[in-house]
């Protein structure tokens, strides 16, 4: 797909979001509420113990993590129901008669969505949080660059996850309950609620076997400074490997799903 076309679709998707102003306002409040709840929870928890460091996190570190992981999560907001809604109403037919890649069309739509949420929600929430909470982010240009790289890799991974999950609609048509399950799985195993470091030992092999931690946890801890710069490259390599694996899964599913597709409504 030509970059010009990709960005055109990004811009259309972005503009579509802008029209829902009320939605955006509620989104900011909602996002901030989450940040407030999580930081309060951590503060309350930490005040119960005499030790100040838990699983390698000081109170400042854990509050920083809670704010930033929420910020990244909001930036990663995408409509994971796009594909299955198109299958359910049959409008996917009109997309398949265009000489464009279905995956990249979908990605462009997601990017437009995320771009809007980053500008309208992530930035305000981070800025407010910087004033309200005790947050420490190490300002190293290399780290910032590494974070951006890891952030985009995580974004591509989550797009692929949503794409693959959405393709299940080719087989089952109604997959909304599954998408809820996927969301719960993602939120927990990506470190969206509690950092992976706090997970019990028996869950760690499971976490390491799944791609979720590379979507939120690692980009976030690269930014907070928890990961030494020397280890950053191995994280990014793992992310790229997962992108490769997910890419293979997506294209296998796409190949098999095409044969199963039924256009609803004639």
């Amino acid at each position: 797909m030509k970059p010009e076309l990709f960005f055109k679709f990004v811009s259309i998707s972005f503009q579509k979001q802008v029209t829902y102003r009320f939605d955006c306002f509620v989104g900011i409040v909602n996002g901030f509420l989450y940040v407030f709840i999580f930081t309060s929870l951590w503060k309350a928890l930490y005040s119960q113990f005499d030790t100040t460091v838990h699983n390698g996190f000081t109170l400042t570190a854990i509050v920083t993590y809670a704010v930033l992981v929420m910020a990244v999560r909001i930036s990663f907001t995408m409509d994971d129901s796009i594909i299955y809604r198109k299958v359910m109403d049959g409008s996917i037919a009109m997309e398949l008669v265009r000489p464009t890649s279905f995956f990249f069309m979908n990605l462009a739509e997601n990017v437009g969505h995320s771009l809007f949420h980053t500008m309208a929600r992530t930035f305000p929430i981070v800025i407010i949080s910087l004033f309200l909470f005790d947050i420490s982010i190490p300002f190293e240009p290399v780290r910032l660059l590494a974070f951006l790289f890891s952030f985009f890799a995580g974004y591509i991974l989550i797009s692929m996850l949503n794409f693959a999950a959405g393709l299940l609609a080719f087989w089952f048509v109604e997959i909304f309950p599954f998408m809820l399950f996927k969301y719960a799985l993602f939120t927990f195993f990506s470190g969206g609620i509690v950092p992976i470091d706090f997970f019990p030992e028996f869950l760690k092999p499971v976490v390491n076997f799944l791609p979720f931690q590379y979507m939120l946890y690692f980009p976030t801890v690269i930014l907070t400074g928890r990961v030494p710069l020397a280890e950053v490259h191995s994280i990014i390599i793992s992310q790229l490997m997962w992108i490769l694996i997910m890419g293979v899964i997506c294209s296998l599913m796409w190949g098999a799903g095409k044969k199963k597709l039924v256009i609803q409504g004639g």
Binding site: K2, E4, L5, K8, I12, Q15, K16, T19, G90, S91, A93, M94, L96, V97, R98, P99, T100, S101, K258, K259, L261, V262, I263, G265, G266
Partner: protein, 343 residues
């Protein structure tokens, strides 16, 4: 070998759908949750046809006959269960994107325009999608704007268009890249008489002047009669008839209908050999006769010499009535001429 003058080639094309059957009512549905029986429906049943470049083909059949399923396989949306298809020498379900670049598609009940964008922006987006150069685009748009009367619509958002307006825009959208093959799936659905006529005129013109190959599915037999030189009739996934529309008419034109109205005192008509009364309504009778064995003059002469006629007219069967008869299985396509015309 692919011949250059073949636009579409379909061999043993088949598409099956699995339909799960669930029982009736609450208990039946509950049971279906655990055990479900599947039924395979053959939407398209091993069909073959070839369409040459520049042909205008009507692809008709009752609801569920498999028309749309065929079109969807030829446009790369659906993958056939078995058999092969090639459009412009490209296999659509293998090279979807390559195929899509060389075809235009209109699905009457869907739109490929962007709901929230003005028509002009939708067109411009399609220009980028189909990689049409600015100068080619401007030339094509000028033609389309004029022929389809789009100028007043260009600044309107698509969601505000009426069905007829939207359809005209959708037809234009399908032609922005000037494709050699155009698929139209019920493009005149819901249009008023005037809009229908302008769409027909336009289609006939691009077929004639540009040489665009057009495959049209429709339920409107006027579309067929006015546009399609060739007709493919589908029933339950199989091709029932494939040939010239004119040929179909000639084949069944044996059944010319004479509509006679007699004066009151001559209302009762004796049987005439070779002539069948198909309908009666008071003193009005509809008669059919075998065109091969009787001249129309003979039949009218015979009647006129015996009875006093108030009014008489001769009607040829329309394509619509022929197709309706085919659907109703009243005409067996394999043996159309050996019919008895006496009761």
């Amino acid at each position: 070998m692919q011949h250059d003058n073949i636009a579409i080639e379909v061999t043993d094309l088949r598409k099956e759908f699995k339909v799960s059957l669930s029982g009736k009512g609450f208990l039946g549905k509950l049971q279906a949750l655990f055990h479900r029986s599947n039924k395979v429906i053959t939407a398209v049943n091993d069909i073959d046809f070839k369409i040459r470049r520049g042909e205008f083909v009507g692809y008709v059949g009752e609801n569920g006959a498999g028309k749309s399923t065929t079109i969807k396989m030829l446009t790369g949306i659906l993958v056939p269960t078995s058999g092969t298809a090639a459009v412009n020498g490209i296999v659509p379900y293998k090279d979807r994107k390559k195929n899509a670049a060389k075809i235009g598609v209109v699905f009457g009940q869907r739109t490929q325009l962007w709901w929230d964008l003005p028509v002009r922006e939708s067109f411009d987006l399609l220009r980028v999608i189909f990689r049409v150069s600015r100068s080619d685009f401007d030339r094509q748009m000028e033609k389309l704007e004029k022929a389809l009367g789009l100028r007043p619509l260009l600044e309107m958002p698509v969601r505000k268009l009426s069905l007829g307006q939207r359809m005209r825009c959708d037809i234009a959208a399908a032609l922005i890249h000037n494709p050699p093959v155009l698929f139209l799936d019920e493009p005149t659905i819901g249009l008023d008489v005037l809009a229908k006529q302008s769409v027909r005129n336009f289609l006939s013109e691009i077929n004639r002047t540009v040489g665009t190959t057009i495959i049209l599915t429709t339920h409107d037999m006027n579309d067929i009669e006015q546009l399609c030189k060739r007709l493919i009739i589908l029933e339950e996934g199989k091709i029932m008839f494939d040939g010239e529309t004119e040929l179909l008419k000639q084949k069944f034109i044996h059944e010319k209908v004479i509509e006679v109205e007699f004066y009151e005192n001559d209302c009762v008509m004796q049987e005439i050999s070779g002539v069948t009364v198909v309908r009666e309504q008071g003193c009005k009778k509809w008669l059919t006769f075998d065109k091969d064995n009787f001249g129309i003059g003979d039949v009218i002469g015979t009647i006129a010499s015996q009875y006093k006629i108030k009014d008489i007219s001769v009607k040829e069967p329309s394509v619509e009535s022929i197709i309706r008869n085919i659907y109703d299985n009243r005409i067996k396509l394999s043996t159309p001429s050996n019919k008895s015309f006496t009761k």
